[in-house]
């Protein structure tokens, strides 16, 4: 969130507070007043409609009185005088559009209008009103009857009529809808709406909209229909988009239904003025707040600025400006705390400096000690390397010794045989020389056969010697020169086992091989031989106790890397394994066997480097893995997994 200036924050705060306050108070005031206004309006409508109905009856009673007098007068006055009376009466009563004096048959005798023509004009006399519903409704003497809306033959417009019959005279007054509306409108308050409905459901007067009078049949309007059926109305009704609190009253005298609607909701003038008041009040409150708060908050702003400057000085220069008193207690407290904080920081800084110096000295001492220790370690590492080289040389020498011992042992028999044959021949030859000549043919032939046999023995043994020497030469060459070449794995293993045969013969253990045929490799036979020699020698040395007869199985087969079983010949990896049935390797030792200088025969001729060298050779030269697992039925199997084609070094 982006920080805002303090002054703006104060303005926001002021605006929010004033807005919330005005909103809550405004809504509360509105809700309370709205309910009250609604109730008052309903009550006002009920009171007003009763007043309206009775007032309308009173006002229209004046019309009734007029035609009553006219009717009675008509019986006593002669025509001419009555005509003048009629004209004068109509002229004085604007609400009345016309008054007809009819005979018993409904024929007009005189018609008073606002027209210039007098009431006894020939146009007005002799008109037949006998089919007029109002005339026909006057079936009793001295009875006033108010009509429903009807079309006037005189004006050609919709009108309301009042009829009165006395003796032979019938007087009918015709009132215009507009005049009625004006009259009812004058009775009711300007803010209320008045509807007057006749018996047929026609709207004869509407104070709100004059054009609606005579247009609407109220059966299309729900609340008016209900009122016609004298049912209770809803609290609020709607008419032409305006809401009203309605109330009705029925005038038995007129046969009309009066409905008054006091505007409701936002159409009500009191609610409108309440809303206007609230809006004006809220606006003034907000405007005043927005003007005054920045002025009033100036001092707070200055104080905050002072505190800010104080903190800034402390942070940048560490200087404490002269103290000023604030009018706000909390600000003074902050100022005091800042000073305290400043003093404490100074104190802590001094302490920190001291601790820092001590620490620096300690670090120097430790650094020196570490440098010395490092030098010692470097020297020890150099010595260790030398020792390792010496050990490796001695390991190689030991291997060479075993080779030489093997050679000597193997050569001993054929050379001894050869010597024995040659010595035998020499003895015979010397014996023959002492005889000077063969005494007989038989002796010569016997000597010749003996010589031939001796030479054959010597030849065979010399050939044997030559083969042995050749084999030893291969092994010696491979192991000393680390030459990469293509070779048959079977042959290499055979050569290695040959070199080891003297050692095996001297031991009580037996060795068997199971070598897959035809594994041609492009790799380092010397390294393979060295690893195999090491594994077999290790088995012979460590697997069994004195006096035990162990078995060693050397296997070679194609394999998929990481699997324990050999697989198809399609693989380009080979596994050479040396399995014994000895005591195995304790779990506590595990992979330590491959660590340099690890030996269980320290001081008994073991250097602890054999398996380490083999392990490194398998990984670094052959590109394979040397590992082992314990057999289920005892003993351990070391296996060398390697690619048929060794990686380029």
């Amino acid at each position: 969130m982006r920080p805002i200036p303090f002054r703006l924050f104060l303005l926001y705060l002021a605006f929010l507070v004033t807005l919330t306050t005005t909103l809550i108070s405004g809504v509360s005031i509105f809700m309370i007043r709205y309910k009250g206004i609604g109730e008052r309006s309903r009550k006002a409508a009920e009171e007003a409609v009763d007043v309206l109905a009775s007032s309308a009856e009173d006002i229209l009673s004046a019309v009734e009185n007029s035609i009553f007098l006219l009717a009675r007068s008509s019986l006593q006055m002669e025509h001419g005088a009555f005509g003048e009376l009629l004209d004068g009466s109509v002229a004085l009563t604007p609400m009345i559009r016309a008054v007809y004096l009819l005979d018993e048959r409904g024929m007009s005798i005189a018609v008073g209008t606002h027209d210039p023509r007098p009431s006894l004009h020939e146009d007005f006399v002799g008109i037949d009103f006998s089919n007029m519903p109002l005339f026909n409704a006057l079936d009793h003497d001295d009875m006033f009857v108010w009509s429903d809306k009807f079309l006037s033959i005189l004006s050609g417009d919709t009108s309301i009529g009042l009829g009165f019959k006395t003796g032979t005279a019938v007087v009918i007054a015709e009132l215009s809808l507009d005049a009625l509306m004006r009259t009812f409108g004058s009775i009711s308050q300007t803010s209320t709406r008045v509807w007057v409905i006749d018996r047929l459901g026609e709207l004869v007067a509407d104070s709100g909209m004059s054009s609606e009078s005579g247009i609407i049949n109220v059966r299309t309007i729900d609340f008016m229909s209900k009122a016609m059926e004298q049912k209770e109305l809803d609290t609020i009704v709607q008419f032409n988009g305006t809401q009203y609190h309605p109330a009705w009253a029925f005038s038995e005298k007129l046969g009309w239904l009066f409905i008054i609607g006091v505007p409701a909701g936002s159409d009500n003038i009191l609610i409108k003025s309440t809303i206007t008041d609230l809006i004006l009040f809220s606006l003034s409150f907000i405007i005043v707040a927005l003007i005054l708060i920045p002025i009033l908050s100036m001092q707070i702003f200055r104080d905050v600025q002072d505190l800010r400057n104080l903190a800034l000085n402390l942070a940048e220069n560490g200087e404490i400006p002269a103290q000023k008193q604030n009018r706000i207690r909390e600000f003074n407290s902050i100022r005091l705390h800042l000073h305290d904080m400043h003093a404490q920081i100074r104190e802590r800084e001094d302490k920190l400096k001291l601790v820092n110096q001590t620490l620096e000295k300690m670090v120097d001492d430790r650094t020196r000690a570490l440098t010395d220790r490092n030098n010692e370690l470097q020297a020890t590492l150099g010595n260790l390397k030398q020792v390792q080289e010496v050990a490796m040389r001695s390991e190689k020498l030991a291997a060479l010794g075993r080779l030489v011992a093997g050679i000597a042992h193997e050569l001993n028999t054929p050379i001894g045989n050869t010597l024995m044959a040659v010595t035998s021949i020499k003895d015979r030859q010397e014996a023959l020389e002492q005889e000077k000549a063969f005494s007989d043919r038989e002796r010569f032939e016997k000597f010749t056969r003996h010589l031939k046999t001796g030479l054959q023995i010597a030849e065979l043994n010399i050939q044997k010697v030559a083969e042995l020497v050749n084999g030893f030469k291969h092994v010696a060459n491979d192991q000393t020169s680390s030459v990469r070449r293509t070779f048959d794995l079977n042959d290499t293993i055979d050569d290695v086992l040959l070199t080891l045969s003297p050692m095996l013969k001297r031991s009580p253990h037996s060795l068997k091989t199971r070598i897959a045929e035809g594994i041609i490799m492009d790799s380092f036979p010397g390294t393979i031989g060295q690893i195999l020699t090491n594994l077999i020698t290790n088995a012979l040395t460590h697997a069994w106790d004195e006096g035990q007869k162990g078995k060693i199985l050397v296997r070679a087969e194609p394999v998929i890397p990481g699997t324990t079983n050999g697989d198809t010949a399609a693989c380009d990896w080979v596994r050479v394994s040396v399995q014994d049935n000895g005591r195995g390797i304790p779990e506590s030792i595990g992979q330590q066997v491959f660590e340099p200088f690890f030996t269980t025969r320290m001081g008994k001729g073991g250097t602890g480097l054999g398996l380490n060298i083999a392990h490194n050779g398998a990984r670094n030269i052959l590109g394979g893995i040397l590992d082992f697992h314990l057999n289920k039925d005892g003993g351990v199997t070391f296996f060398l997994d390697m690619p048929v084609r060794a990686p380029e070094l």
């Binding site: 409904g106 009103f129 006998s130 089919n131 079309l151 033959i153 050609g156 417009d157 247009i215």
Partner: protein
């Protein structure tokens, strides 16, 4: 990939289809029917009876359909300018159709406003011949003045044996009365009859009845014919009977309302006129309508009640059958014929029709079929 719930895409599609269906396709849930008639002034009887018929039609429709109709009523005050204002108001309120008016002059005023806005107008009773045979936004449910006036001329000559005709013509609804007179005169002349006098009047200015009556009776006519509304016909008939108790009277079909009898009294007894609606029909539809009308409004329906009822039924039936791209006019023209209260209603390609004609006579304060 299967979804455990209907995918958002499916819901969106469904919503879109609904919105499009509501927005573009199916009819609105409320159809607004504008209604203009003379509810004040001299035509208030025709206008009010028409309004009552329309109200019953709308209420019946709303009772039987989920789509609701709203009737918006306006008074033309029998005045051209007020009619135009009423039409402007209704078109501003986006009515789907206007029913009205009941005179030719006011109907023309409505069409002059609604026509350019492509709002269909159905006039229940306007009949001036020049309104017929036009490709406009007006559909007429009445026979033309040519048909009706011709029928009058034929009737007078052939059945009543009256050849010398004196005529009182209202000029307030000049378009109608002039057209009516033209075709009457033409046909009467063809039949060998003559017009003895034509007294023209405007009821708003008429005060000198004596002169009018004198003109009408001047040349010894066989009969007097009124081309005027019921109030003016009754008013002049009252004056005329003072001068001549016996001369046969005829009134154009326009005057044929209950008010003619109420206002005319004995002076209109024996008067004959043509009704384009058979008010003596005993078919179940009309009997039901007549009963309903009487119960509601306390008097019998007039021709304008029946025509307005039928006009509303025509537009509401057409609205329900209207296809999304169809105009109201095409829907009204192509979904007929419609069942009327007393006859089938079918329009030609211009939206015109011919009604049956029945001559009636006022006897004993009521309309009865004419005997001759």
């Amino acid at each position: 990939m299967k979804h455990a719930f209907p995918g958002i895409r499916q819901w969106t599609l469904a919503t879109l289809i609904c919105v499009l269906a509501v927005g573009c396709g199916s009819p609105r849930q409320t159809v607004r029917v504008g209604f203009i008639s003379g509810l004040s002034g001299g035509n208030a009887d025709t206008g009010e009876a028409g309004r009552n018929g329309a109200m019953i039609a709308v209420e019946e429709f709303n009772e039987h359909n989920t789509v609701k109709a709203q009737l918006i009523i306006r008074d033309d005050g029998n005045d051209v300018e007020q009619t135009r204002q009423a039409a402007e108001d209704l078109t501003a309120r986006k009515v789907d159709v206007i029913i009205g008016a009941f005179t030719t002059t006011t109907t023309e005023a409505i069409v002059s406003v609604a026509g350019p806005k492509k709002v269909l107008v159905l006039t229940p009773s306007a009949s001036a011949f020049h309104l017929f045979g036009k490709d406009d936004e007006l559909i007429l449910l009445n026979s033309s003045t040519k048909d009706n006036a011709g029928d009058y001329a034929m009737y007078m000559h052939k059945r009543a044996g009256l050849t010398r005709v004196s005529i009182a013509r209202d000029t307030q609804n000049d378009a109608f009365s002039r057209s009516w007179l033209t075709f009457f005169e033409q046909r009467l002349s063809e039949e060998g009859g003559i017009i003895t006098a034509i007294a023209e009047f405007d009821s708003r200015e008429l005060t000198d009845y004596r002169h009018l009556v004198k003109t009408l009776l001047h040349d010894s006519p066989d009969t007097v014919l009124f081309i005027a509304n019921s109030v003016d016909t009754a008013r002049i008939a009252q004056q005329l009977r003072k001068a001549d108790q016996h001369i046969p009277l005829f009134a154009a079909e326009w005057a044929g309302t209950e008010q003619l009898i109420e206002l005319g009294g004995a002076s209109v007894e024996g008067m004959r006129l043509l009704q384009n609606v058979n008010l003596f029909d005993e078919g179940p539809d009309f009997v039901r309508f007549r009963g309903e009308y009487y119960n509601r409004f306390g008097r019998n329906p007039s021709y304008s009640s029946v025509m307005a009822y039928e006009a509303v039924n025509v537009v509401l039936t057409a609205y329900l059958k209207k296809t999304p791209r169809q105009s109201m006019k095409n829907a009204a023209l192509h979904n007929g014929p419609y069942k009327g209260l007393t006859q089938m209603i079918s329009f030609n390609k211009w939206g015109d029709m011919k009604r049956e004609s029945h001559f009636v006579m006022i006897r004993n304060k009521t309309f009865l079929p004419a005997q001759d």
